[in-house]
C-alpha cells in the first residue's frame, strides 16, 4: 500500500512538476504557489462544453489567483484535482461525502466542499485554497489566528476550518459567537478543539481589522 502511494506521488509529480515531499517543504516556506505556477493561455478560459467519460479534457482553473491548465476526467472532483493534479495538498479529504468539511475551499469567495464539486463545474470561478491565504512568506491573518489560539490538535480539519472562517469573515467581518458557531458548523473537528476554533475566528476578525498585539 505504501509502495502504491509512492508510485502515485511520483505520477502526480510528473503532471504537476513537483513532488509531494518537495511541495510540503515549500508550503512551510510559503512559496508553493509561486513554485507551481504554470502558463495558461487566455483563449482556454472559456468553459469546456462537452467531455467524454473516458478521455482527459483540458480545462482551466483559476486557483489562488493563477490560471492553471489541467487534464481532467469529467467525474473528477475539485478536491481530487487540487491535490493530485495541482499538488495543493493543503486541501484535505475526509469523508468525501460532504459531511466533514476538511476539503473546504473558497469558490467565488464562498466556502464550499471541494469533494462535492466537479472540477469541470469550477472552471469559471475563483478558487482559493489554504495555500492561497499566505501573505508572501508569512501566514495570513486567519492562519495566524489559528496558531495564536492553538485552534487544533491533529490539524487534519484545520485548513477546512480556516477557509470556513475566511469565507464567513468575507461576508461578516464582525461575527458574534453564535454567528461563528454557525459559520464553522459545516466543519467537524474530531479532536474537539471547537472552543479554540471559535476563539481563533474572533481573533482572525480582529487581525483582519488591524488589531495587533497579544489578545
Amino acid at each position: 500500500m505504501a509502495h502504491d502511494r509512492r508510485d502515485h506521488d511520483e505520477k502526480a509529480a510528473d503532471t504537476s512538476g513537483i513532488s509531494r515531499r518537495g511541495f510540503i517543504s515549500r508550503v512551510g516556506a510559503g512559496a508553493a504557489v509561486v513554485a507551481v505556477a504554470s502558463k495558461a493561455s487566455a483563449e482556454s478560459a472559456k468553459p469546456t462544453e462537452t467531455m467524454q467519460a473516458t478521455e482527459l479534457s483540458r480545462i482551466t482553473l483559476t486557483v489562488n489567483g493563477q490560471q492553471r491548465q489541467v487534464l481532467v476526467e469529467p467525474r473528477w472532483t475539485l478536491s481530487h484535482v487540487l491535490r493530485e493534479e495541482l499538488g495543493l495538498t493543503g486541501t484535505k479529504v475526509g469523508c468525501e461525502r460532504g459531511e466533514c468539511g476538511a476539503c473546504t475551499v473558497l469558490i467565488d469567495g464562498k466556502p464550499r466542499y471541494s469533494c462535492m464539486t466537479l472540477a469541470v463545474e469550477a472552471q469559471d470561478a475563483d478558487i482559493v485554497t489554504v495555500e492561497g491565504l499566505m501573505d508572501g512568506e508569512d501566514l495570513g491573518p486567519t492562519q495566524e489566528a489559528f496558531v495564536e489560539k492553538d485552534a487544533f490538535q491533529c490539524g487534519y480539519c484545520t485548513s477546512g476550518q480556516i477557509l470556513a472562517v475566511e469565507g464567513m469573515l468575507g461576508d461578516n467581518p464582525n461575527p458574534s459567537l453564535d454567528e461563528i458557531r454557525i459559520g464553522v458548523s459545516g466543519n467537524l473537528c474530531r479532536c474537539g478543539a471547537y472552543v479554540h476554533i471559535f476563539q481563533a475566528a474572533q481573533r482572525a476578525a480582529e487581525l483582519k481589522q488591524g488589531v495587533g498585539g497579544e489578545s
Binding site: 469529467p74 466537479l118 469541470v120 458548523s185 466543519n187
Partner: protein
C-alpha cells in the same frame, strides 16, 4: 471514485432538455445531491447535463401579482439572506437558513432542494430496495429511527427538504420547462407519495427541468415560521419540523396551511391541524388539541415512536409562538 459519465454543459434551456432526453442523463445544478447519489451508486448515470451556465435561472424577483419568483439556480444561502424573502415570507427564509451546512447552502439550489433524493440509508446503501426497483423495503423491519410516521405505504422514507414544506405552506408553484413547453404545478401536487408511485419522488419527467418557483403575494395578516428539530445541533436533516403560514385577523386564524417535515415521504400538509385552528383563537388548550389531531393518524415503526410526542410538542410550541408573534 465516482463512476464514469459523459459531461455536457448546456448553453440553453432547449439544449439542456434535448441532452436530458437520452437514457441515463441526469441534470446537475448545485450537484451536491447528485454527486452523493453517484458516489453511492444509487442510480446509473451515463451523462451529466450541467445547467449552471444558464444565468437566466438565477435570482429572486418581485412578480406582478406582488409575490416573488425564485429562479431554480438561486442558492439556498442566497434565499436565506434575501431581504424580500425575509420580509414577506420569514418562514421560508428560516427554513433555508436551517438547510444543511454553510458550505452546502452556498452550493445547493432551491430547484435541487425540492427535488432531493431520499436519505434512507437502505436506499443510499447497497440494498436493492423497493424504491430502486427491488421488492423489499428494508426499513420496515430494519433500522427505522429516522423513517416516516405518516404517509408510508410499502416504502417508509421521509422527504429530506426543509424548503419544500415552507413553500407548500406558502402555496408556492413550480414552473417546469419540458419539450412541450412550460407547465406550472402547485408544489402541493409536485411530490409523489409512495402510494402513487414508489419509485418517483416528483412529477418531473426525465427531460423536464424546474426553472423557477413562484410564491403568491402574502395574504393580509399572514405570518409564517419554520421550526426544525434535529439530532445534531450543528447540521442535520429534520427529525421533526413544522412550517406554518397562517393568516390572522387580530388574534383569530382566518386561513393558511400547516406542513410537517420529517414526518412523511412527501412534505405533509396537516389538514387536521388546519381544521382545528382555522376560525379560532389559538390558546394552550387549542394548541394541544391541534397537536393531538396532527398525530391522530400517525403510525410508528419499531424505532421511531419518539417522533409522535416530538411532533406534538413542536406543533403545540409553534402554534403558541405564532399566535403571540
Amino acid at each position: 471514485m465516482i463512476p464514469e459519465f459523459n459531461y455536457v454543459r448546456a448553453q440553453s434551456l432547449t439544449e439542456a432538455q434535448q441532452q436530458l432526453s437520452t437514457d441515463g442523463a441526469r441534470v446537475c445544478a448545485g450537484g451536491s445531491d447528485l454527486l452523493g447519489c453517484l458516489r453511492d451508486e444509487v442510480f446509473d448515470c451515463s451523462k451529466v447535463v450541467s445547467v449552471t451556465g444558464l444565468d437566466e435561472l438565477r435570482g429572486i424577483t418581485r412578480s406582478r401579482d406582488g409575490g416573488v419568483n425564485i429562479g431554480a439556480l438561486t442558492t439556498i444561502a442566497e434565499l436565506a439572506a434575501n431581504s424580500t424573502v425575509q420580509e414577506l415570507y420569514p418562514g421560508l427564509a428560516q427554513a433555508a437558513a436551517e438547510v444543511a451546512s454553510p458550505q452546502l447552502r452556498n452550493q445547493g439550489t432551491i430547484g435541487g432542494n425540492i427535488c432531493q433524493k431520499p436519505r434512507c440509508w437502505y436506499y443510499r446503501g447497497e440494498f436493492e430496495c423497493l424504491r430502486k426497483g427491488g421488492d423489499t423495503c428494508y426499513a420496515m423491519a430494519g433500522e427505522n429511527q429516522y423513517h416516516c410516521i405518516l404517509g408510508g405505504y410499502r416504502c417508509y422514507i421521509v422527504h429530506p427538504s426543509d424548503t419544500a414544506p415552507a413553500l407548500l405552506a406558502l402555496n408556492a408553484s413550480v414552473q417546469i420547462a419540458g419539450p412541450r413547453g412550460e407547465r406550472v404545478v402547485p408544489i402541493e401536487d409536485f411530490h409523489v407519495a409512495p402510494r402513487d408511485d414508489v419509485q418517483r419522488e416528483t412529477v418531473l419527467e426525465d427531460n423536464e427541468i424546474v426553472v423557477a418557483i413562484s410564491i403568491p403575494q402574502p395574504a393580509s395578516g399572514l405570518r409564517s415560521s419554520y421550526r426544525k428539530v434535529r439530532a445534531r445541533g450543528s447540521w442535520d436533516f429534520a427529525l421533526a419540523g413544522v412550517a406554518l403560514a397562517l393568516a390572522f385577523d387580530a388574534d383569530r386564524v382566518t386561513g393558511g396551511r400547516v406542513v410537517l417535515s420529517g414526518a412523511a415521504p412527501i412534505p405533509w400538509r396537516s389538514r387536521e391541524v388546519e381544521n382545528t385552528i382555522i376560525g379560532q383563537r389559538i390558546d394552550a388548550t387549542l394548541a394541544r388539541e391541534a397537536a393531538d389531531a396532527a398525530m391522530s393518524e400517525a403510525a410508528a415503526l419499531k424505532n421511531n415512536g419518539y417522533k409522535i410526542p416530538l411532533f406534538k410538542g413542536v406543533i403545540e410550541e409553534q402554534l403558541l409562538a405564532i399566535a403571540s408573534a
